[in-house]
C-alpha cells in the first residue's frame, strides 16, 4: 500500500499507509494527524484539510481545480504549494508523498 508522510505543525512526522483511491485526507483522519479536521467530511467545502505539498511532489500531485482554489480562499496562510488533502487521490505513483500541515 502506498504511504504518505504527514509533517505536523509541531514538526512531528506521522507515516500512514493510504489505500489507492482513498484521499490524503482519509489517511490523515484515520491516523489522527493533528490539524486535519475535515469538517465537511471531504467534500471540498470547508478548507479544514489544507496541506502544503513538498516541492519534490508538486508536479506529481498536480494543480488544484477551480473549485478547490475557490475553497482554499477561505483558509489561512495559503501558498502556491497549498492543496486540500481531500482532493488528492492516492495511487502507487504517489507512494512516499510528503505533505506539511499548516499552523
Amino acid at each position: 500500500m502506498p504511504t504518505v508522510n504527514y509533517i505536523q505543525a509541531n514538526g512531528q512526522a506521522v507515516q500512514a499507509e493510504v489505500k489507492s483511491g482513498d484521499t490524503v485526507k482519509d489517511g490523515a483522519v484515520k491516523s489522527m494527524v493533528t490539524g486535519i479536521m475535515a469538517e465537511c467530511g471531504g467534500a471540498c467545502m470547508c478548507a479544514t484539510c489544507h496541506v502544503y505539498v513538498h516541492e519534490d511532489w508538486r508536479a506529481d500531485v498536480g494543480e488544484p481545480s477551480t473549485e478547490e482554489i475557490e475553497v482554499l480562499g477561505f483558509a489561512d496562510h495559503v501558498e502556491d504549494r497549498s492543496r486540500l488533502s481531500c482532493q488528492i487521490s492516492m495511487s502507487s505513483e504517489l507512494d512516499g508523498l510528503v505533505v506539511y500541515i499548516p499552523e
Partner: protein, 392 residues
C-alpha cells in the same frame, strides 16, 4: 395552568381582578405581583413574547471569543442563537440554524469555526458574515442562488465587553437602555475593561425566574438568611438606585477585612457589596478585594424552574487564592442559601393560601427596603400589559 380554585380568577390571566391588589407606581401603596404571574403557564407564554423576545439577552463576553471564528451560543426559549467574531473583528449574531434543512450549526455552548461555519448535517458552509459560500451540488439546481440562503442575522450589541442579542428588530438600542449603568459598574470595578472570562457555574432552581430575580433585588432578607454576607458589608450604607431599566444595590466595605464570608486584602474593588440588575434577566455582582465581576443570567425554564449561569471575570482566568475563597463562598454558601429561599417561596406562591404581599419600603431604611423588587414588578406589569390590543 391557572388554578380555578384560586380566588383571583379573571377572564384574562394578566388582568387584575377585584381580589387583586394593585401594583401601583408609588411603592408605598403597592402590592407584589399576583402569585399566578409566577406559576401560570399562560403568563409564561406572554413573558416569552413580550419580555424575552423584545429585550436584550446576554450571550457571553468578548473575552470568550477573541479570534475570528470563535463563537458563543445561547438559546432564547425555542430560538437558538450564535454570536461569531468575523475576520473583520466584528461580532455578529445569527439564528443558529442552517438555511438548508434547519439543522443547528453550532452544537456547543462555545467553540471555534475554522474557516467557515460548516453545518454538521450536509456541510453547507457559511462565512462569518453569514453568507452561504458552499452548498454541494447546487450548481445545476434551477433558480438556486446562494445569496438567497444566507444566515438570518439578529441584532447584536456589546456593553462593557458583554455581548447581547435582541430578537426584536425595532426595540430600543442596548446602549440607550443601559443609561449610566456602565459608569456605575466602572466606579466600583475600575479595571473592569481588563477582566477576562474565568469560569461558569450553573445552578438549576425549582422556582420561577421572577422569584429568583426578586430575591436578588432586596437585602431585607440578608440579616436573617445571609449572616456571612452581612459581615462583608456595612449594612447601614446599603443603597438602592433605580433607573428606567436597571437598579443598583451597593453597600460600603466592612470595617474588618476578615469576615465570616472570606478574608480579603483591600484592593481596587473598595466596597462591600455591589450588584446590578438590568432588565429583564441580566445581573452583575462584584466582591470586595481585587478586580472581579460576575454576570448572573437568570434563565426561565418553564414557570416552575430557572437556570442560572454565573460567569466569573478576573484579571487572570486562573483565580488567586483570595478569589478562590470568594468564589467558594459564593458557590457553596451564598448560592445554596438563596436557592433554598427561592424554592420555598415558589412553593408558597403555588399554594391556595397566598396571592399577594405588600412591599416594605421605609425611606429611612434603604438597606432593608424592597425598592428594587417594586421597580422590577412595575417593569413586569408594564411589559405584560403593553400592546394589549394584539393579545388574543
Amino acid at each position: 395552568m391557572l388554578d380555578v380554585n384560586k380566588p383571583n380568577k379573571s377572564d384574562s390571566v394578566l388582568e387584575f381582578g377585584p381580589d387583586d391588589g394593585p401594583v401601583t407606581e408609588d411603592p408605598r401603596h403597592s402590592y407584589t405581583i399576583p402569585s399566578r404571574y409566577y406559576t401560570d403557564s399562560e403568563v409564561y407564554e406572554h413573558e416569552k413574547a413580550k419580555v424575552f423576545s423584545q429585550n436584550w439577552w446576554l450571550v457571553g463576553h468578548e473575552s470568550r471569543i477573541p479570534n475570528p471564528g470563535d463563537y458563543v451560543a445561547t438559546r432564547i426559549f425555542e430560538q437558538p442563537i450564535i454570536a461569531v467574531r468575523g475576520k473583520d473583528n466584528q461580532i455578529r449574531a445569527f439564528y443558529n440554524v442552517c438555511k438548508h434543512r434547519g439543522h443547528e450549526l453550532a452544537l456547543e455552548e462555545s467553540g471555534h469555526f475554522s474557516n467557515l461555519i460548516v453545518c454538521p448535517y450536509h456541510a453547507w458552509a457559511y462565512d462569518f458574515d453569514g453568507n452561504l459560500q458552499r452548498a454541494r451540488s447546487t450548481d445545476t439546481l434551477p433558480g438556486f442562488q446562494k445569496c438567497d440562503f444566507g444566515l438570518q442575522e439578529v441584532r447584536c450589541e456589546s456593553f462593557l465587553g458583554f455581548v447581547f442579542v435582541n430578537l426584536a428588530p425595532d426595540s430600543p438600542d442596548l446602549n440607550d437602555m443601559v443609561e449610566d449603568l456602565g459608569d456605575s459598574i466602572r466606579s466600583i470595578v475600575p479595571r473592569q475593561d481588563q477582566l477576562t472570562y474565568s469560569a461558569r457555574y450553573t445552578y438549576n432552581i425549582s422556582a420561577n425566574w421572577k422569584v429568583v430575580t426578586d430575591n436578588f433585588l432586596e437585602c431585607y432578607h440578608c440579616e436573617k438568611a445571609h449572616p456571612a454576607l452581612v459581615d462583608l458589608m456595612e449594612m447601614d450604607t446599603y443603597e438602592v438606585t433605580r433607573r428606567s431599566w436597571y437598579s443598583s444595590h451597593i453597600a460600603e466595605a466592612p470595617k474588618s477585612n476578615e469576615t465570616q464570608a472570606y478574608n480579603f486584602t483591600k484592593g481596587d474593588v473598595d466596597f462591600g457589596y455591589a450588584a446590578w440588575f438590568f432588565w429583564p434577566n441580566t445581573t452583575f455582582w462584584a466582591f470586595p478585594g481585587e478586580p472581579n465581576l460576575m454576570s448572573l443570567q437568570i434563565i426561565p425554564n418553564g414557570p416552575h424552574h430557572t437556570i442560572e449561569h454565573l460567569d466569573v471575570y478576573l484579571l487572570d482566568p486562573e483565580p488567586s487564592q483570595q478569589m478562590k475563597d470568594a468564589i467558594a463562598y459564593m458557590d457553596s454558601v451564598l448560592q445554596p442559601e438563596d436557592i433554598g429561599l427561592c424554592e420555598s417561596a415558589h412553593r408558597g406562591l403555588c399554594s391556595n393560601g397566598y396571592n399577594q404581599g405588600r412591599l416594605v419600603v421605609d425611606p429611612e431604611k434603604t438597606e432593608i427596603a424592597e425598592w428594587g423588587v417594586h421597580h422590577f414588578h412595575r417593569l413586569v406589569v408594564n411589559a405584560l400589559h403593553a400592546n394589549e390590543s394584539t393579545d388574543s
